[in-house]
């Protein structure tokens, strides 16, 4: 259970970064950390006591325990999705810097509310 709790702490560190930091790049880093923590969580969910990697080889004994391949497939998807969102976020941040010459979110408040 302690590993799950630690993964949640990592998630919360990322969340803290997104909610409290006022720099666009720092916020992006916070989101990336949140994604990592979820990938970690999925990895932990898939693990089996004494398991080996879910790849069947010819010499594999009948009694061998394999770890759950499903969460691994999900993490693979999640990693790629994470990269996609990060790339878009960073490109928008770069464009915002070009317009306002700052990464400070307090100085780029054109919009109200």
């Amino acid at each position: 259970m302690i590993v799950f709790i630690l993964a949640i702490i990592l998630f919360l560190v990322g969340l803290y970064g997104v909610l409290v930091k006022r720099n666009l790049i720092k916020m992006a880093i916070g989101l990336v950390i949140m994604e990592y923590s979820i990938n970690l969580f999925f990895g932990l969910v898939g693990f089996r006591e004494g398991g080996t990697a879910p790849i069947i080889t010819k010499g594999l004994s009948e009694s061998a325990v394999l770890v759950d391949p499903l969460p691994q497939a999900l993490v693979l998807t999640a990693i790629v999705i994470g990269l996609g969102t990060t790339a878009l976020l960073v490109s928008i941040a770069v464009r915002i810097f070009e317009k306002y010459n700052t990464f400070d979110i307090r100085k780029i408040r054109k919009l109200r509310g």
């Binding site: 790849i55 790629v80 990269l83 490109s91 464009r95 070009e98």
Partner: protein
């Protein structure tokens, strides 16, 4: 971005093709060993990225556009979409594994899985490379 020293360039010249080959190997053996379309595609993109980083984006700017990253990206994903659709065209289910499974542990086995891996490999390699050059190499507004 400027290029790096001669040593770096020389080592990159040796490294990049081998990384590229490793990527292709990983793509083709995705159904047998760890890896697959995503891992292999990312490796291939990595080899191109390495070249651009070592030689500097100023030198490579005119080159990278000729590599047609966005075209290969659309092409790869279109092939993948088409493979997925084959089952539906046949009058059966989407994503049905319509090719014979073959003998396990051989390169030509597992039906559509290796084909999908190749299509995904092309798509991922081109997509990641396109993201890299648009963000790191090109100036804003420059067309890929």
């Amino acid at each position: 971005m400027k290029g790096m020293t001669l040593i770096v360039k020389r080592i990159t010249q040796l490294m990049a093709p081998s990384i590229f080959l490793l990527g292709i190997y990983v793509v083709f053996h995705g159904h047998l060993t760890p890896g697959g379309g995503f891992a292999g595609g990312v490796l291939i993109a990595g080899s191109f990225t390495l070249l651009v980083l070592a030689y500097g984006s100023d030198e490579m700017r005119s080159e990278v556009r000729k590599w047609r990253a966005t075209f290969f990206e659309s092409f790869g994903i279109f092939i993948f979409w088409f493979i997925a659709l084959l089952g539906l065209i046949q009058g059966s289910y989407l994503f049905l594994n319509i090719i014979q499974k073959g003998r396990p542990f051989h390169l030509f086995s597992a039906g559509i899985i290796p084909l999908c891996n190749i299509a995904i490999g092309i798509e991922v390699a081109a997509a990641l490379f396109a993201i890299f050059i648009t963000l790191a190499v090109l100036r804003i507004g420059e067309k890929l």
